[in-house]
């Protein structure tokens, strides 16, 4: 059976995410000396088939590179997925004063650096507000220079629906953009909703 979030729960998730992504953006802004544009995050219960739409909506038909990182703690588990538009790497390399050749290895290094900042700060921020502590697994590269379609195909989805938080980051005046998708496992939804309800009380 499909359960949906109440309006209050959705609003609360959005606000918590807003604060967490603000902390992550602040880290990135101070690291790179830029201003990160922060839109309102999207929070939805989605089915496995809708994951494709969430990703496709997040990114265009351009080639992408993606990293995923599992997290677990306080009875809640999930995956953070960072999808980078490949067109971003040139500007990113310049910003991060990357001196080596911008080949696959170079791009990978940049991808890992940015994802550790964004994923780490965002999870920490959400955990802090919900009084949860998440441990992060090792980041895994899902693909480089591939299409969003390929990313989704490579996943083996055992779940029917899940809580998805989508965050789009863009750097002002530069051609850098990426999408961070936080997916919680189906079993975690009840527990994390409980934490949210506690805050709403």
């Amino acid at each position: 059976m499909l359960v949906d979030l109440t309006e209050d729960q959705r609003d609360c998730y959005q606000e918590i995410t807003n604060v967490a992504m603000g902390q992550a953006a602040d880290r990135l802004a101070r690291l790179l000396n830029v201003y990160v544009i922060l839109p309102i995050p999207k929070v939805n219960m989605i089915s496995a088939s809708e994951l494709h739409m969430a990703l496709a909506g997040a990114n265009t038909s351009d080639d992408v590179s993606a990293v995923c990182q599992g997290f677990i703690g306080s009875g809640i588990a999930g995956e953070a997925l960072l999808v980078f538009n490949d067109a971003s790497f040139a500007d990113l390399a310049q910003l991060m004063k990357y001196k080596g050749p911008l080949d696959r290895h170079g791009e990978l290094e940049l991808l890992m650096d940015v994802s550790s900042v964004l994923i780490g700060a965002c999870l920490h921020g959400i955990g802090e507000q919900l009084e949860l502590h998440f441990n992060q697994g090792h980041p895994v590269v899902l693909g480089q220079h591939c299409h969003v379609d390929d990313l989704v195909k490579s996943g083996n989805h055992q779940w029917s629906q899940t809580l998805a938080i989508e965050i789009h980051y863009e750097i002002e005046n530069l051609n850098i953009n990426c999408d961070l998708l936080l997916l919680f496992t189906e079993d975690s939804v009840a527990k994390i909703n409980q934490q949210v309800d506690y805050l709403l009380d």
Binding site: D8, D11, E15, G22, A29, R30, Y35, L38, P39, I40
Partner: protein
């Protein structure tokens, strides 16, 4: 007379959180606004001598509200309460005339501290 305080944020959870963070026993008349346009309208009606303002909002964002206050020379002391805490955001709102900048999530300690610092709250 109760002090007119406006809480302007698009999230109802954030508005509640803000209201809960106000000092106990502070004699205020609280008005809520869900976006910048509603916020400016409330300030025009004298409902926001002290304004707690979010930055990221639909219709009109916090920057827009600060610009409108300045343009119309409205009597409002604005405390920006924001999730966007980048150095640039803090600088921009100060330039636009905000009195203070507080990081979200707000709590009672932070609220009391800022209100005391600016002499809005003396003896409660």
């Amino acid at each position: 007379m109760a002090l007119p305080v406006l809480i302007c944020d698009d999230s109802s959870f954030a508005r509640k959180q803000m209201k809960r963070a106000l000092p106990d026993g502070w004699d205020v008349e609280v008005t809520f606004a869900g976006n910048g346009l509603e916020g400016v309208e409330a300030i025009r009606q004298g409902k926001g001598e002290v304004v707690f303002l979010d930055l990221t909002m639909p219709e009109m964002d916090g920057y827009g509200v600060l610009e409108a206050i300045r343009k119309e020379d409205l009597p409002a002391m604005v405390i920006v309460v924001s999730g966007d805490i980048q150095p640039d955001a803090q600088e921009r709102v100060k330039k636009l005339g905000a009195m203070a900048f507080v990081k979200k999530p707000i709590d009672k300690t932070k609220a009391a501290q800022i209100l005391t610092e600016f002499g809005i709250l003396s003896d409660v």
